[in-house]
């Protein structure tokens, strides 16, 4: 099994923050016993949540150098993802190469950002591509994340799902993005959800576990909040909105609800849990809205890849174009940036 916390620094220098995190086992959320009171206590007002995210979009504004720096930060928090039935080793290798060099060097140079050693936060693939990715990323310090547990529908037997986690960890995945049994949420069977995620947690071993709750299938904001809380109690290192396959994926309102649960869980336990919106975040502007939301609601500590990730496939392209525009003053075109 790959040592997830060790980072090979022989190649591109890793991000300072990222090094610190990956060396520190203590940041893992050990979870807590099942505490139904923490779930019952939850009240979410969807309209008020939406008003907050609507207003926040216009409450903060990032211009010029600030916009560029924040976009670079977004890149560093990105789980560059390919989850397609026609993925091939060649495709995955290309993605990994993009993860190592997500932004053209001349642009980074113009921004004075070469010293940052910018990479994406991770590369996210299906189990069968884990080995390819691990090999391709060797020495970069970029972890491989594997979606697991019969992603995306979670409809396989539990044993099969646990075996899939173990296999991916054995293949070198440092991060496991698991999916949950949605009907536990829809039938308010919180104990069953807790037990399931605990079992996943155990199977992950030292790999980081990101629990995908599939907000778009959970029907209500209250369910989103409660599922988030239960997954954190069961030891999730990250809570993640969506598989990217649901009809509705990450939105700012569901993200706000989850983020507030992270804050609440921290108040209750002092454990920090990360957040990953996935699916639907495709523009540079979107990514800034998310970063602002995180900064405002959780604070600066959460603004790095150790506690925040975007699950995205097309976002990087837009950020690259925006950065080139900032550097040159001219609008860019997609074909000017290496394809992922």
């Amino acid at each position: 099994m790959a040592k997830m916390m060790k980072v090979d620094t022989s190649q591109a220098p890793p991000l300072e923050a990222a090094v610190a995190v990956r060396d520190d086992h203590d940041l893992l959320n050990p979870g807590t016993p099942f505490n139904p009171g923490w779930v019952e206590d939850i009240h979410i007002n969807a309209s008020a949540v939406e008003r907050r995210t609507d207003s926040l979009k216009n409450r903060r504004s990032l211009k010029k150098d600030w916009q560029a720096a924040w976009l670079l930060r977004a890149v560093s928090c990105m789980d560059l993802t390919t989850l397609s039935g026609d993925d091939t080793p060649g495709r995955v290798k290309r993605l990994c190469s993009k993860a190592r060099n997500p932004v053209r060097q001349d642009i980074l140079k113009a921004l004075g950002a070469q010293s940052l050693g910018l990479t994406t936060g991770a590369v996210c693939v299906y189990h069968s591509m884990v080995e390819t990715a691990v090999t391709a990323l060797k020495g970069s310090g970029i972890p491989v994340a594997a979606v697991s547990t019969a992603f995306p529908a979670c409809m396989a037997p539990l044993e099969t799902r646990l075996a899939e986690i173990r296999a991916s960890v054995a293949a070198g995945a440092m991060e496991i993005d698991i999916v949950i049994t949605r009907h536990f949420v829809l039938t308010q069977n919180w104990r069953a959800l807790y037990d399931e995620v605990c079992a996943y947690r155990k199977a992950c071993g030292k790999a980081h576990m990101k629990t995908i709750i599939s907000t778009g299938q959970l029907a209500t904001m209250n369910n989103v909040a409660k599922a988030s809380m239960v997954c954190m109690m069961a030891g999730a290192d990250f809570i993640k909105t969506s598989t990217g396959m649901e009809a509705v994926n990450a939105t700012l309102p569901v993200s706000l609800v989850m983020i507030r649960m992270i804050r609440r869980y921290r108040e209750l336990t002092e454990f920090k849990v990360g957040f990953k919106p996935a699916g639907g975040v495709s523009s540079a502007r979107d990514s800034l809205n998310y970063l602002v939301l995180i900064k405002e609601e959780l604070g600066d500590k959460w603004l790095g890849p150790e506690l925040f990730r975007f699950g995205a496939s097309s976002l990087l392209g837009d950020i690259e174009r925006q950065l080139e525009h900032f550097v040159t003053g001219h609008y860019s075109a997609s074909h000017r940036h290496p394809i992922a």
């Binding site: 309209s47 008020a48 990032l62 211009k63 600030w66 907000t215 959970l218």
Partner: protein
Amino acid sequence: MNVAEIFKTMSYGPAPEATDKVDQWLQDHQEHSLLLIDGQWVAPSSGDYFDSINPATGVVLGKVAQANAADIDKAVKAARAAQPAWQELSGHQRARYLYALARLMQKHSRRLAVLETLDNGKPIRESRDVDVPLAVRHFYHHAGWAQLMRTELPGQQAVGVVGQIIPWNFPLLMAAWKVAPALAAGNCVVLKPAEFTSLSALMFGELCQEAGIPAGVVNIVTGDGETGAELVKHPDINKVAFTGSTDVGRLIKQQTAGSGKKLTLELGGKSPFIVFDDADLDSAVEGLVESIWFNQGQVCCGCSRLLVQEGIADTLIERIKTRMATLRVGDPLDKGVDMGAIIDPSQRERIDALVKQGVVEGATLWQPEGACPESGCFYPPTLLTDVESSNVVAREEIFGPVLSVLSFRSQQEAIDLANNSRYGLASSVWSENINRALDVAPQLKAGVVWINSANQFDASCGFGGYRESGIGREGGMEGMYEYLKPRDNKPMEQGIPMPQPQASPQGAADAGIDHTAKMYIGGKQARPDSGNSTQVLAVDGRVVGLVGEGNRKDIRNAVEAAYKAEGWSKTSVHNRAQILFYIAENLSYRDEEFARRLIALTGASSEEAKAEVEAAIERLFYYAAWADKYDGSVHQPPIRGVVLAMNEAIGVMGIACPDGSPLLAFISMLAPVIAMGNRAVVIPSQRYPLIATDFYQVLETSDLPAGVVNIVTGERELLSKVLAEHNQVDGLWYHGTAQGSMVVEQVSVGNLKRTWVNHGRARDWMSSEQGEGKQFLREACQVKNIWIPYGDSI
């Protein structure tokens, strides 16, 4: 800081809004701005100008003209001259003008927003996303009212020339709230912007010209409080519309007393923000940000009193503090700033003095560290805990970013604390239990209730206060009525002079068992406190009975009884209708007796007397019919949710009756008042009180709960003055002399009660046009708008 450093710190940088277009405008007006009178920009006759200052920087933006009485007179004359033609335009033609103005404001929205922020100090985010869009929306909405006036407001016409005085906290938006409905209804206006913030009104005046609005329809006169006072005083205005402090509102009501000028007042508040233990606390915290930390807390309807259920108080306060620390206070032109500058150093000092006083009285002060820039007129977001209800910061309007926290145990205690205020403008209720929220909302004495939200506004929803927070509504149909009067509002007849009875030596008319007419208080017959009685003379001069000589203590007792009968305001409309029908039925059993009494007292012919009794019975039917039909409405502002506009009882109402048609007038005023759920203290016809004292026997047999109707006989002018001055009386209808009308308006300012007086003009109570109608129902109600956002699905 370079990109790599920002990457590490993840700080926010500056994001200034460009001001070049507004700088140009200011430069073009640098010499001095002028007054818009009769379509021309003219210099003030005083030749005086004062500075308009950017409160964030202290920089002088320009010179503003100081208008005096002569300028006001010119402006009023121009408005008067323009008004007939403006009113004669079709609604559609006026709608076109208002639509053009809405479009122009949209086209110049950024310029308006930047100018507003420069002049007022509010964050550009607010002027750009709140003030200007809401102002535009107001013109769209009222273009619609102009278009629909003929069919939807039949029988109504413009009041004439309106003097409008607006405050400095939302300069452009308040101008829109004033001008749009006035113009839609066919009025012409003289608008007086606040001294601190005149500039956006002047830019608005230019847009009026660009929209081709005829000369004299909109006149804009800048100046200080004196200018406003001259406008209020001007004898040729038909209405005053004022938004500002309660103290000035009181003065205006006093000054316009007896003048017949229609009045709307939007005044101060100390609105409650109630958080129950089943609320979404994080969202409630954000609600506070939208409420008390909106516009630096300089919002009349900002919820400055947090009432929190005890079990969650500590948690909520911690979360509020955490949130306060992330509020960014600073350059209002920065697009990333949450709170801008306080309007003026004098205002800042006032805020600070009240906060300090609150601390002296026991409050604990908390402010985030280093919140404010070092220069400029700023005040940090402020939290005061350990506030008891007697503390000045729990009672006085601070008009700054200061939140006072009180706690409660139960829903009932929350309501009691919320209503423990002289004000009644707005309120905010947070609970995820819809049963609770919808139960609490009607019990709050406030013109607006925001459920799980705060500071929501829309042109379609009326806005205005209960109690000392104001009179009248702005927005929606109820707002339109404030700028209308019944068409054919011919001066009412002065009334047929009543025959003067001569005291006759013949003595009592009936030599039967002594009949003692008592007062009727709290469902019981009551002797007068004075122990004195007055003879009631028939038209032929014979003494037909004695009635008690009511005094202030009788009024006190009657008001107390009416106050206690609050169950009537909550009883079902069906029940109220049923009882009114029953009163009519019981009166009809005794129609001959009442007719005889009328003949004996007034000298009416038998036909006349019978007709009056029949009319009284029919009128009771009329209001019984309305009791369960005068519904509120459901508005659909641009939110996912609804707004319920509920017609609520005013509360305890006084009624002073005329002498003419003594039975019918008494019924015509009493029936709508109780039909709408008010409890009444009635001073019946001074000359013919026996009609009313006979009537309480009808009430006693009609299942009317004790205290709903109380009758105090005696001298009308004396007793109505006591009622007008009584601070537990919420409304007063007076039908008597011009002098008495003036007194009632003048002395009712203690609690700013709703008054409706006849200015000495008699109504023809027998006619359905003058003696009954929806106007009576409107005057017997106040509209509460309850905002109910909903939705839980993803």
